[in-house]
């Protein structure tokens, strides 16, 4: 529709209130990171100093023990180990989740079968029942089958909270897809494989990528299930950070570890924002 030089009735600029609000929110989200960064470089930063009384770099030579970032980088902090574990588990969980949810989502979007409403209800249950409720029971089951404290055990358990999200997003995408394109391609002479590779998958791709990123996000943020199933042997970034700050204080090395834990999130943010549009997320949750 052609838009002439009319002024639209709705104001599409921000009101003053909204401008202030946006600034406040930005401060609320980002502000606390500033003292966090400062703390990670401090040797001693006691109340009521606004800046550390003594900095880390000043004290480095004086102590036998590695301090602050030296400590974070050293193998004693287990940061590198935790990062590798988190990335590895997250990736494998995403791949497996995708592999098992894709066919299931296709079935859910196209077919009906007895018990389908019950199935869909069950699919949403992990979103409602908290990790605390099933954590210990899962641990007992896994001890029994010998998978407690193993990567396999943790990966399988991570599937539980991620499947509901993945299936929702994929089902939404499949529903938007419609059978027509596939049928048209087959009428035009494409065989099953060609249809899949050249018609279905490209159209699914945005939803698949969104689902994969979200699953990776959920998996790398899981604490309680990993803590129970890892039995202290397998440490991930959330469990490592929790053990550092569970006392309710934050020293320099804990601040450094917190920053390290934030990095995968930032990378994920950059990837997501670059490739996924807001609508893709909305599809999973709008209903």
């Amino acid at each position: 529709m052609a838009r002439g030089p009319f002024k639209t009735a709705l104001n599409s600029r921000l009101s003053t209130f909204q401008k202030i609000y946006l600034l406040l929110i930005a401060g609320f989200i980002l502000g606390p990171f500033i003292p966090l960064v400062i703390q990670s470089f401090a040797f001693r930063w006691a109340w009521p100093d606004m800046l550390p009384g003594t900095w880390w770099l000043e004290q480095r030579e004086n102590t036998l023990m590695p301090l602050a970032w030296d400590y974070v980088i050293s193998p004693y902090s287990r940061v590198w180990e935790a990062t590798l574990n988190t990335m590895f588990i997250g990736t494998v969980v995403t791949v497996i989740c995708l592999a098992i949810c894709l066919p299931a989502a296709r079935v859910l979007s196209r077919e009906t079968f007895p018990g389908k409403p019950a199935f869909e209800f069950f699919l949403s249950m992990p979103l409602i029942v908290p990790e605390a409720a099933i954590g210990i029971a899962l641990l007992m089951i896994f001890i029994h089958i010998g998978l407690a404290g193993t990567y396999t055990g943790i990966i399988i358990v991570h599937l539980i909270p991620t499947i509901p999200y993945m299936i929702r997003m994929l089902t939404a995408v499949y529903q938007g897809l419609g059978r027509d394109f596939e049928e048209q391609a087959m009428i035009l002479g494409a065989n099953r494989w060609q249809v899949m590779w050249q018609v279905t998958l490209p159209m699914l791709l945005p939803g698949v990528v969104a689902g994969a990123l979200f699953t990776f996000l959920v998996s790398t943020n899981i604490f309680l299930l990993t803590f129970f199933l890892g039995q202290g042997k397998i440490v991930t970034l959330p469990t490592l950070l929790f053990s550092k700050i569970s006392g309710g204080t934050l020293d320099a090395s804990a601040a450094g570890i917190t920053l390290v834990v934030t990095v995968p999130g930032i990378i994920l943010l950059l990837i997501t924002e670059r490739f996924i549009k807001e609508e893709a997320f909305g599809k999973g949750f709008g209903n």
Binding site: L30, A133, I163, L268
Partner: protein, 302 residues
């Protein structure tokens, strides 16, 4: 004649089998593992734990002991209070933010990155930020000392580690407002602004447009996002454990303390606690959804 028909039947049966095969892996994880864990938890809470040497099934005494103690109801009250208040605050803040995001402004692309940050990082990071900002020895306290309002950390109004739970609520809001915003923004984009424009042309003011046009449009998004975050808040463990006010804690922390006790009989008490959490969460969320569905039917949306 019969030959083509049996072939068709056979193919149909193969297709049905193939359909079920595709569903099996998801079914296994959800029904066997998740469902199995639930069943195990329920069984233990009712006294069925032969591997501990306890088999008094069906034994409601654990539930009776749990629900009969006043501290359980205090913990339940605290859990619900933190969940409701933080969901409410996150909802309001998220709506305002989403409405701002549909407008145009300089730096919008950067802002779209920024507001999603808390979504991507674990809760524990949020807890660390709360500790460093809101603790008695934290930045807000030092700012107040800097401007001369207080002279001792104890004079700083206690924010963390109280039963009012402001620290817990702040962390939840910090993490969940972006989630609400994301959902509602997506819904707003999908719905488009034509109806709003039409209302504006017809003379409606800001508030009328919001309450009578926008709000009903984003209501499904509100319901689904608040459902998810409320469900999370009820079962959350890390924040109340680190930032909570001590005894009586929220229900998940109570369950944790039972599980960590050397006394094995408390393990079953812990199971009763987690089953109670699941039942309460399930009950509340189910009624929430049911009420919404009834509302939807009333206004004629299917």
């Amino acid at each position: 004649m019969t030959a083509p028909k049996t072939k068709e039947l056979a193919r149909h049966r193969r297709e049905r089998i193939w359909m079920w095969v595709q569903l099996v892996p998801v079914l296994v994880v959800l029904v066997v593992l998740f469902g199995g864990a639930l069943v195990l938890a329920v069984a233990q809470s009712l006294g069925f734990a032969p591997w501990f040497g306890v088999n008094t099934f069906p034994d409601f005494s654990y539930f009776a002991a749990l629900w009969g103690a006043w501290s359980f109801w205090q913990s339940l009250g605290l859990t619900l209070y933190y969940a409701i208040v933080s969901t409410g605050i996150a909802l309001v803040m998220g709506i305002i933010l989403a409405l701002a995001m549909v407008r145009l402004f300089p730096g919008k692309t950067l802002y779209k990155y920024l507001y999603k940050l808390p979504l991507m990082i674990p809760y524990t990071v949020g807890i660390a930020l709360a500790v460093i900002m809101l603790g008695n020895g934290g930045m807000l306290s030092r700012l107040m000392a800097f401007v001369g309002l207080i002279g001792d950390p104890s004079e700083f109004p206690q924010i963390l580690k109280t039963h009012y739970g402001w620290g817990i609520i702040t962390v939840y809001v910090w993490k969940q407002t972006p989630f609400v915003t994301l959902t509602l923004y997506a819904v707003l984009l999908g719905v488009g602004r034509e109806t709003e424009e039409a209302a504006a042309i017809l003379g409606a003011n800001k508030w009328q447009i919001f309450f009578q046009v926008t709000l009903p449009q984003i209501l499904p998004g509100i319901i689904s996002s608040t459902l998810i975050i409320f469900a999370f808040n009820i079962g959350a463990f890390e924040a109340p454990f680190i930032l909570g006010g001590g005894y009586p804690d929220t229900l998940p922390v109570i369950a944790w303390r039972y599980f960590n006790d050397a006394d094995y009989s408390l393990q079953l008490q812990g199971m009763a606690t987690v089953v109670s959490i699941a039942l309460i969460a399930g009950g509340i969320l189910y009624s929430y959804l049911a009420l919404y569905r009834r509302y939807e039917r009333r206004i004629g949306r299917s």
